[in-house]
Symmetry: C2
DNA sequence: CGAGCTTGTTGGCAGTGTGCCAACAAGGCC
DNA sequence: GGCCTTGTTGGCACACTGCCAACAAGCTCG
């Protein structure tokens, strides 16, 4: 027995980083920030506590990284781009894919959805906001094929964002509270999409048309 | 000069408590939990740090108390109970009151709405959930006058909760992003309420009717 | 095949913030 | 005016984070 088993094994930079991040993500999903110590994360990853700071800097940096990696999945149902196909069929497919994604990543999605610090945590908010804007882009791209989503009128973005709020709440009613079956959730997402973008959007646009509005956005 | 000004003045129990809570609420609204120290809260309130723990226990207890006091305001627009009056008129009034509340408590509402710990902070979630359920009760009470809101079918509650999600996102689009004018926000809230509870609700109910659904809520 | 080097990894030290408690004093009561 | 209640203080002990210098695993080159 020359040179017994090494006391610790050496991993590649990105590999170790990913491993620690995975442990952190799991723990932060189960409990809130303050209830998880870096020592615990290190123990879960089987490394020394110092290594966490070596890879991620502060505990909060690790936390933000975990949030970032969790919201990488879509945050709302989006229809595929229609290449001349039936729009309603595409919407139905999009909703179905959404529900499928949810049932596969139930725990992760619920945790990611709740990611937000109490009042005005700018950094966390920015991460979440960016993810939602990306999802809004996808919806808009499907609604106005060919056009640049970023150039879409503000009202349209706002309405899409409103629908996203409905979609998230609906998903939670199914996944967490169980007050909707999967079929009911599907019906709700499908019907409200049509209702919102067909009827409600018109009303919003005409409400913005007459430029006789003295009060714009309040300070 | 007999017995100069006392070095500190004595307040009644509830008064001091309320004062500290107000300072905590303000600071927690501006910055996230970790970025606020008990020392800072104490300084803002003009008391010794120890007093905070005397009144609230741990820093987290104080935090939860602050969250609790912030979600005491309504979280979604609710129409008044109709005493034989025109339902649409009542809805319009409810939306208007909601917008009025928002413009008056802009900062507080935005902060309260974001109250949530990252993934699975049971205590914060429970507080927020309770507040939202209360708002849902009000909506249901308006929709089904006389009946007990708690006895309402699960689908109805779920649909109301979905609308609440839409309403919160809409409000944020107006207040924070400025992508909607007040009039547009009003139109969006009004039209989508009608659409959701008139058309979408029916679809959800009929999707739940045929008991030929093998898969209920996934584990 | 061993010496040397790169760099992933460790263990511990210093600084900061929280939780708690015993002593103090402000203001009311007799 | 002395006593008593209790709101308030200051500081001690502990926990945890952030950081760094030393260590060693495993590759490379002679």
């Amino acid at each position: 027995m020359t040179a017994a088993a090494p006391r610790w094994n050496r991993l590649e930079h990105d590999e170790r980083r990913a491993q620690i991040l995975a442990c952190a993500r799991r723990l932060f999903s189960e409990r809130h920030f303050g209830a998880v110590s870096t020592a615990e994360i290190a123990r879960a990853a089987g490394v020394a506590r110092g290594l966490i700071h070596h890879y991620f800097g502060t505990k909060r940096d690790l936390y933000l990284e975990a949030v970032r990696s969790m919201v990488s999945m879509p945050l709302q149902p989006v229809p595929t781009e229609l290449d001349g196909r039936d729009p309603e069929q595409l919407l139905a497919e999009g909703v179905e894919r959404w529900l499928e994604m949810l049932s596969r990543n139930r725990e992760t999605w619920i945790a990611a959805r709740g990611a937000q610090g109490f009042g005005r945590d700018g950094e966390v908010e920015a991460i979440l906001e960016e993810a939602r804007e990306g999802a809004v882009d996808q919806v808009i791209a499907a609604l106005r094929p060919g056009a640049d989503p970023a150039a879409a009128p503000a009202e349209l973005r706002a309405v899409a964002r409103a629908y996203a709020g409905l979609a998230e709440a609906t998903s939670l009613e199914w996944l967490q509270h169980g007050r909707l079956t999967r079929e009911q959730a599907r019906a709700l997402l499908y019907e409200s999409f049509i209702a919102v973008f067909r009827q409600v959007l018109d009303a919003v646009e005409s409400a913005g048309d007459p430029a006789i509005q003295p009060k714009a956005i309040p300070a």
